[in-house]
Amino acid sequence: MTRLLAVLATMMSAVAAQAEDVTTYRLDNGMEVVVIEDNRAPVVVQMLWYKVGSADEPAGKSGVAHVLEHLLFKATDVLESGEFSAIVAANGGSDNAFTSYDYTAYFQRVASDRLELMMQMESNRMNNLRLTQEDVVTERQVVLEERNQRTENSPDALAREQFRAALFQNSRYGVPVIGWKQEVEQIDLEDTLDFYDLYYSPNNAILVVAGDVQPDDVLALAEKYYGVIPAEDQLPVRERPQEPPQRAERRITYVDERVSQPYLVRSYLAPERDPGAQSEAAALVYLAELLGGSSFTSALGQALQFDTQTAIYTNASYSGSWLDDAIFSFAVVPSEGVALSNAEAAMDTVISDFLESEIDPERMESIRTQLRASEIYALDNVQGLAQRYGAALSQSLTVQDVKAWPDVLQAVTEDDIKAVAAKVFNRDQAVTGWIVSSQEEAR
């Protein structure tokens, strides 16, 4: 659906192609511009990324970043409410937006000779929204229905909210992007305008244009439309509440009659990709693959789904694309008749066995090959490349970091993986959740 909510930053393992054609600029007002050329089809994607997401919201105002994202499609000084999308559609294009913890992004996909019109409109709504209280009230209802659809109607999503709230003790990553219901209900015009006036500024934005374009032309257009917008001098330094040392393991049991199949999740705090320091994150990508990437070849899959019939599904996952702390997660869905406690014990045995044994060099080589290949496949999806740069740059990485990432991944050794595993698998920094339909299943 539209006005998407990116619940998780989904830039997974493979990031940064070897061959994409990238040019970058910085406008005088501080706005970053990234141009990715792909001339295979006469199509262009404009993405405007604001370096502000739900984790930047003031306390008590959860959901305001996302409600504002919806409101950016309302009237401006020159566009009527809804006219932005109508003009995109009238030009045969499509448009949408999404909000995550670290960023809010708007994009249009159109024939490449329509880029100027898109820039004209996107730059217009950076500073010139004309919101009314009625806009906010109606759109708040839409967002509450969105929350109903995504969260209240889904036991998995409700469990995930409880789980993240338990995992993060101080970071705003523990608050849902869409916001807590009682806070969304209270968001008003002033809340949205405060957020808009402060954060929607050229010095807090990254323009990514990808497709059938010439970098010089894009720069000229960017200067014409975005370059004239003054920088926001009140823009705060982006320092968000950080996790304190976590000193105690946490466990939750989420009970919901709508759960059809009990399962367990374990998440550990983990390092994210940082500017100039991506090697631990790269090693964690391998660790997730080795432990739970594929049911057929990973350690968990082999032990719990093949050697024994303990589970019908296992998984380990990690994404390094976060401004603050990342998460390394396991999930296990036990087989019929297997208690969650037994499934969890079997999972922990796999983890401890992994830490004590040698890593199979053939598996390492296979993962390296797949990561290399994923860079080639990534070239087929220019919007995916735009997404990769936009997300990374809004999470404090540089273009150089993005370009270096494939090489950093290729350089990971068995020792790197062992070292990061020993560091991350600390139960004091972890939450284990059981998701069940009744207390009787929680055994």
Binding site: G82, A86, A89, A111, T138, R372, A373
Partner: protein, 437 residues
């Protein structure tokens, strides 16, 4: 020898964009037809295969057999166990996907040019000589049964299952291709062998290949890959009448937001009024924020996050389907607004301006779909399966442009029947009750 029948240079004109893809039609020495687009700029290939039939070929009492068989294709074949097969696939950095749908099977593969021969051999093995080991069968069966149990507690799945059962009864369209816990639990290895024999056949398969390859080499590749499949399969199912009358069916389910699926009789893909109906549906409910339903139900009243409709022309029946979700307290209003919009469009039609805007969008959006090897391969396989020719890529926008306001409003009056619209509502909807026939 490979015969290249025709090589058309096809151009799609958008508002201003001109997407150019050159579709080459080839027939392999063994008689397999395929559409090929040579795109050498990135060193990989996307292969797409569709086979008519799919889950509609399940034998009596064996509902779910084709689906389970399809899931087992990647679980061991030839002399390889499931794990050996997947290890090999990972080492080649290729990906396969296999899906059984109501009417067809879909097989997709993506692989690096440098690994082409090894990957094709591996895919051939999965398609031609799957092992259906009992251990794999039992393991995957447990996954499928878990999914079926999960669907029984998901409002959206309950709504669509209830709608389909009421509309189509015992016809394959009336039940989930996954089968039931009972039918899937009873499936045997022999059922897998039978389902494989019936579903993977040469005389109704459609192939497209896009990427770093040449039309000259595709024929031999396809004979290697598919030549050993049986030539023919069993008869396909008969057409079925859409069997739902207007009304409301409430399925009680304890959840805060009600989910409604709604629909009525639709229009066949080959009907001469199909494009008029396509535009009609776009303006009514498929055009995202520009559609009337989205404007009335979401933008003006804030009753939902999303409402949408689509034309669903299947091989044996055709429908107009939609869905909307709203809190239990407001779903009745959302349904009332939807029904009113249905009636307003049937009675008054759309305006010339709405028609013009829809045409501009639809003709502009079309070339933007051809934006990746896998996307192009998928579009081309789908086109072949419904009997289109490569020229369609060029002509399609002219079909849209040719629709007049008179056409579209005549079709609106004929096709849209608000009194026949049936809503299945799952939740605790306030002010709604199941209607009596």
């Amino acid at each position: 020898m490979l015969r290249i029948l025709i090589a058309l240079c096809l151009s799609v004109f958008a508002v201003a964009a001109q997407a150019e893809i050159e579709i080459k039609q080839v027939t392999s020495p063994g008689g397999i037809d395929a559409w090929v687009v040579e795109e050498p700029s990135i060193p990989f290939i996307a292969l797409e295969i569709r086979i008519r039939g799919g889950a509609s070929l399940d034998l009596p009492g064996k509902r779910g057999a084709t689906n389970l068989m399809t899931a087992l294709l990647e679980e061991g074949s030839g002399d390889m166990s499931a794990q050996e097969f997947q290890t090999r696939l990972e080492n080649l950095a290729a990906s396969f996907s296999f899906h059984a749908y109501d009417d067809s099977m879909q097989i997709s593969a993506r692989f690096l040019t440098e690994n082409k021969d090894e990957v094709i051999a591996l895919l051939r093995q999965a398609l031609v000589s799957p092992r259906f080991d009992q251990t794999a069968l039992d393991r995957v069966r447990a996954q499928v049964v878990s999914g079926i149990a999960s669907d029984a507690k998901r409002p959206n799945a309950i709504a669509s299952a209830t709608f389909n059962a009421a509309a189509f009864g015992d016809h394959p369209y009336g039940s989930s291709p996954d089968g039931t816990v009972e039918t899937v639990s009873a499936l045997t290895r022999q059922d897998m062998i039978d389902a494989h024999r019936n579903a993977l056949v040469r005389d109704r398969l459609y192939v497209s290949v896009v990427g770093d390859t040449t039309a000259e080499t595709v024929g031999a590749m396809l004979d290697d890959l598919l030549g050993d499949l049986p030539a023919e399969g069993p008869a396909l199912p008969q057409d079925i009448e859409f069997g739902l009358n207007g009304g409301i069916t409430v399925v009680d389910f304890d959840t805060p937001q009600s989910v409604a699926y709604f629909g009525q009789q639709g229009i066949k893909r080959e009907d001469e009024d199909f494009f008029a109906a396509f535009i009609l549906n776009h303006v009514l409910g498929a055009g995202g924020f520009e559609s009337r339903l989205m404007t009335e139900v979401r933008e003006k009243r804030g009753l939902t996050y999303g409402i949408g409709t689509s034309l669903v022309p299947k091989f044996n029946a055709e429908m107009i389907l939609g869905s909307v979700s709203s809190a239990n307290e407001t779903i009745a209003e959302a349904i009332e607004v939807t029904r009113n919009e249905w009636a307003r469009m049937a009675e008054d039609g759309m305006t010339a301006e709405e028609l013009a805007e829809a045409k501009t969008y639809l003709t502009g959006e079309y070339p933007l779909r051809f934006d990746g090897n896998a996307e192009i391969a998928s579009i081309m396989a789908g086109m072949q399966m419904i009997g289109l020719t490569p020229d369609y890529v060029v002509d399609r926008n002219a079909f849209i442009e040719a629709v007049t306001l008179e056409d579209v409003n005549r079709v609106a009056a004929e096709l849209l029947r608000p009194e026949d619209l049936h809503f299945v509502v799952v939740g605790k909807p306030q002010g709604l009750e199941t209607t009596q026939e």
